[in-house]
């Protein structure tokens, strides 16, 4: 896995972070208005958090398999917690929530770790989704029952099931790419995060018309198109690091960008509904773990299944 492709991606990450940090420091010395100063302070806080997150992620990738699974299991735990903390739950949901935190999340990631594909894909959508409504009904209160169960199931689906498709990329068997799946995972995460960042950058440069002003005032058509095109181009250029031809890599990048955007927008709608701006404040400048991973959640399962359908042998 210490091949040229991984080194290229690593170089891209370090380059992008350095560029962002330098720009942030230059802006810090040149801004004058208080409102611009606030944006620059946020940018610099974001950059500091970016370095730490990138370091943790890259180290987990280099250490390989199990470490990556544990990292994402922990992320799911934190994201699910952020979601449930902000969602009003009933006193009678207590036991069901306990099961989610301490049985369903570990079991789901254990299935990823032992690469039991068949059970992993149905464990939450079938088994957990039978268990949770049953457990809540057993607790014996019916007020807002449908609302309560769907909130917990939704949280589980997005923050645990969808997110676990990222480390699940490690279990795909792709011809002539054996033992390199960590590179594929790196490629996916890099694209999703680049897409976020580039949409933000393009949005600030040329963004005018808002896409969904009520749900997410920061998203503009300019930012969207600019971000998607640049990320797709970078994805195509990174093809040597992946099992894909440049054109295939471009197509998959485009898919990841679109799904990332949908995930981001959906989670913005959820936050609006819950009446908050960020899911928490554990990542300075970014918000919560789920704020950083929202675009991953929708892109991961689609990316996984498309790659599996067209490229996997096993």
């Amino acid at each position: 896995m210490h091949d040229a492709g991984t080194l290229t991606m690593l170089g891209l990450v370090v380059g992008a972070l350095t560029l962002g940090t330098v720009v942030g420091q230059v802006l810090r010395r040149t801004v004058t208005s208080p409102s611009a100063e606030r944006i620059v302070t946020n940018l610099n806080a974001r950059m500091r958090a970016w370095w730490i997150m990138a370091a943790i992620f890259v180290v987990s990738i280099l250490l390989g398999g199990m470490t990556t699974v544990v990292l994402f299991a922990l992320s799911s735990f934190l994201a699910f917690r952020e979601f449930i903390t902000l969602t009003p739950t009933h006193r009678s949901d207590h036991r069901a929530l306990f099961w989610c935190f301490f049985v369903i999340i570990p079991l789901n990631y254990w299935l990823v770790a032992i690469e039991w594909y068949g059970f992993f894909t149905v464990f939450i959508p079938v088994y957990a989704f039978v268990f949770i409504p049953g457990r809540i009904a057993l607790a014996g209160t019916y007020e807002r029952y449908l609302e309560r169960t769907s909130k917990i199931q939704w949280a589980l689906m997005v923050t645990v099931y969808f997110l676990s498709y990222v480390p699940a990329l490690l279990m795909l068997e792709i011809e002539a790419y054996q033992g390199n799946n960590a590179g594929l995972l790196f490629f996916f995460i890099l694209l999703v995060q680049l897409n976020d960042v580039l949409q933000y950058v393009w949005g600030n440069l040329i963004g005018r018309r808002k896409i969904a002003p009520v749900i997410s005032p920061n998203k503009t058509w300019g930012g969207f198109v600019g971000g998607v095109l640049t990320t797709t181009l970078i994805g195509a250029l990174l093809a040597p690091a992946t099992p894909f031809h440049p054109l295939q890599a471009a197509g998959l990048s485009l898919l990841v960008c679109l799904m990332g955007f949908v995930g981001d927008l959906t989670m913005s709608a959820v936050k609006r509904d819950l009446g908050v701006k960020d899911f928490s404040a554990v990542l300075p400048g970014h918000g919560g773990v789920l704020d950083r991973l929202d675009s991953c959640t929708f892109a991961a399962p689609i990316f996984f299944h498309v790659v599996r359908y067209y490229f996997a042998t096993g």
Binding site: L78, R81, T89, H94, R95, S280, A281
Partner: protein
């Protein structure tokens, strides 16, 4: 060691973030908080800076904490709790004297003036203990502490906790005013505690 392990666990599981209205100060003072869960005292204690934690003692009910050997060991050796006899209060065995002795020795106290755990967000009227402390030690600072979301982490009647995010809000310290009566003082203390609630707080409004 065990205390550090426990506070570490609580900090990880409850993602406890502390908000301070003013810089934390050591020395004799009374932290008083709302009480909804068995984890309350542990969480409040974990939220304190480590050097303050050592000289901060939780006031707890002896009838509960003396009941089994494990509890007694936890209360005495790990937390150094000030155990108060709720059942046989006589002039000679006045819990107030024990608490004042601790304060006079330069340590801080954690107390739950509602007298017991309450359900959800209803903060019951305060018992008169803190008034008597204020009356006997007029210079004693009182610090309100609002514990958020604990009733969802470990509600009354449950044994297993759910690791949701919690917050601990420390308010500004205040003293007894010269012309305070018991009612005025207790009411002010209660209102200062309630004022620390974050509004609107999606975490603590279960029924919308």
């Amino acid at each position: 060691m065990i205390a550090r392990l426990l506070t570490g666990c609580v900090r990880f599981l409850c993602g406890c973030n502390a908000r301070w209205a003013e810089l934390p100060v050591a020395g004799p003072r009374v932290y008083y908080a709302n009480h909804t869960s068995h984890l309350d005292s542990l969480l409040l204690w974990s939220a304190l800076p480590a050097q303050l934690r050592r000289s901060c003692r939780i006031v707890a009910a002896a009838d509960y904490w003396e009941r089994t050997r494990a509890r007694r060991w936890l209360a005495r050796e790990v937390f150094r709790a000030v155990l108060i006899d709720r059942t046989t209060v006589t002039r000679r065995n006045n819990p107030l004297d024990h608490m004042l002795a601790v304060l006079d020795a330069g340590e801080a106290l954690v107390i739950f003036p509602e007298g017991g755990r309450s359900d959800r967000q209803v903060v019951r009227d305060f018992r008169s203990g803190i008034w008597h402390m204020a009356r006997r030690r007029p210079d004693l600072p009182f610090v309100p502490v609002w514990l958020e979301n604990l009733s969802r982490v470990l509600p009354k009647g449950e044994v297993l906790p759910v690791p949701l995010m919690t917050a601990v809000a420390f308010g500004a310290a205040f003293h007894k005013a010269a012309d305070d009566t018991k009612e005025i003082f207790l009411d002010r203390a209660r209102r200062r505690l309630l004022a620390l609630r974050r509004e609107p707080d999606p975490c603590t409004t279960p029924e919308r």
